[in-house]
Symmetry: C2
Subunit: 249 residues, 2 copies
């Protein structure tokens, strides 16, 4: 049985903390399927630990899960996760495409689910404010079910990115209670210029600064349209319904 | 300051256990907004505890939340949560309507989110297998954001219920990887006969028994349609996209 030193256990376990992930540029991935997807992806896998090699006790100590899985990998973060110079996106945005912009999504499960939606519907990239929950948080990583290895996500100055999209003749969509019925208007899929769909924070919605940059205010109508008692939809649910409609033929 | 006895604290706290909820017919609701919605609903509220009355320590002891809210209510479960005699639904089903059928949904967050979707889109009732997560589990209650007080949910013999829908000339829809593109076929909104949308378990999908009763197999197409790397969609996300499409004008 290959061993793992106490120091190594401590180093891996410490990757559950954002500060340590930021300093090291590493994060952890758990589960046979996820570890295999990491190995098959362009991401650099620094180490793989398997229960049958390091033992159950060590696995429990390095795992972020309440039920440790048989495999855990330490993976290097992609170099384009945090982008300061937005001109890096000039070429991609000039080609158009459909993008998501996350305005302070805080729930790890929501972010993971949104990445799965982006994966399913071929979203070109996901942009997010710096205060959006960390993509490399173990709960987010697991909730992506592997989408983290296929969808490009970038933490950026979101208002500046949004202005750049508008400058390129693109559209910025957002859902609001006083928006226009999504089914009664054309939606630009990004064939010629970039289209961005903004997803607001779980309790606060879209921030005033970003709301001021939204060019097209949308609304997902409830049923019946005048239904009185209904509450709002969850952020990931609103994302799913909106993105599906953009991708509908 | 009104007090709360140790025995009362124990009784309220015990409602976090399913066995105790089943025996007592009670469940707990937390948060000012949710407690107010309970009071405004047809549900019978047995007691309301407020932090300023019972003190912070007692509130912490009775709360199921890591951050106890200022208010907690003990509420009686509706009498139609568990229905053995399916003829109780004969009249409602004969009028038609759009229903959901949950086939072993296990994640509390998913069930809560599905109730919110049902609320938003005016679903007539939600049916579920007995092994679906308990609606009155505190995590589910909180995740419904109040939809629990507006959407009727019934634990039933789901295959028998499904057969009853077919007997009444209704349709039973389910999503499958080999189903028909949802956007390329008519979807019956339940105007004349009942329509049921089956939602499968998070990892296993729709069980063989229920799958054999599905009359219309649907598929949510990814984008692009031949996209190779994409994973499946989360159960609540697939529910949202499907239900929105049924309700679309």
């Amino acid at each position: 049985m290959a061993g793992i030193s106490n120091n190594e256990i401590k180093r891996v376990k410490a990757l559950q903390q954002k500060k340590v992930r930021d300093e090291s540029g590493l994060f952890i991935v758990e589960g046979e399927k996820m570890v295999q997807e990491a190995l098959d992806s362009p991401f650099a896998v620094e180490a793989v630990y398997r229960k049958y090699e390091i033992g159950e006790d060590a696995m429990k100590r390095i795992s972020a899960l309440s039920n440790p899985s048989p495999a855990l990998a330490v993976v290097r973060k992609p170099s384009d996760a945090y982008v300061d110079d937005l001109s890096a996106f000039d070429a991609a945005l000039s080609e158009g495409g459909l993008y998501l912009a996350l305005d302070s999504i805080r729930d790890p499960g929501n972010l993971g689910t949104i990445l799965r939606i982006a994966d399913w519907f071929g979203i070109k990239a996901v942009f997010a404010t710096g205060d959006t929950v960390d993509l490399f948080n173990p709960k987010v990583v697991q909730a992506t079910m592997g989408a983290i290895f296929r969808v490009r996500m970038h933490y950026v100055d979101l208002p500046a990115l949004t202005r750049k999209v508008l400058d390129k003749g693109g559209k910025v969509y957002g859902t609001f209670l006083d928006g226009q019925n999504m089914y009664e208007r054309p939606l630009d899929n990004g064939m010629h210029s970039p289209s961005v769909i903004v997803i607001g924070n779980e309790s606060e919605g879209i921030s005033d600064e970003i709301a001021g940059l939204v060019s097209d205010r949308l609304y997902i109508p409830p049923y019946p349209a005048d239904q009185p008692g209904s509450e709002s939809l969850n952020a990931a649910i609103a994302t799913a319904i909106t993105v599906a409609e953009f991708r509908r033929r």
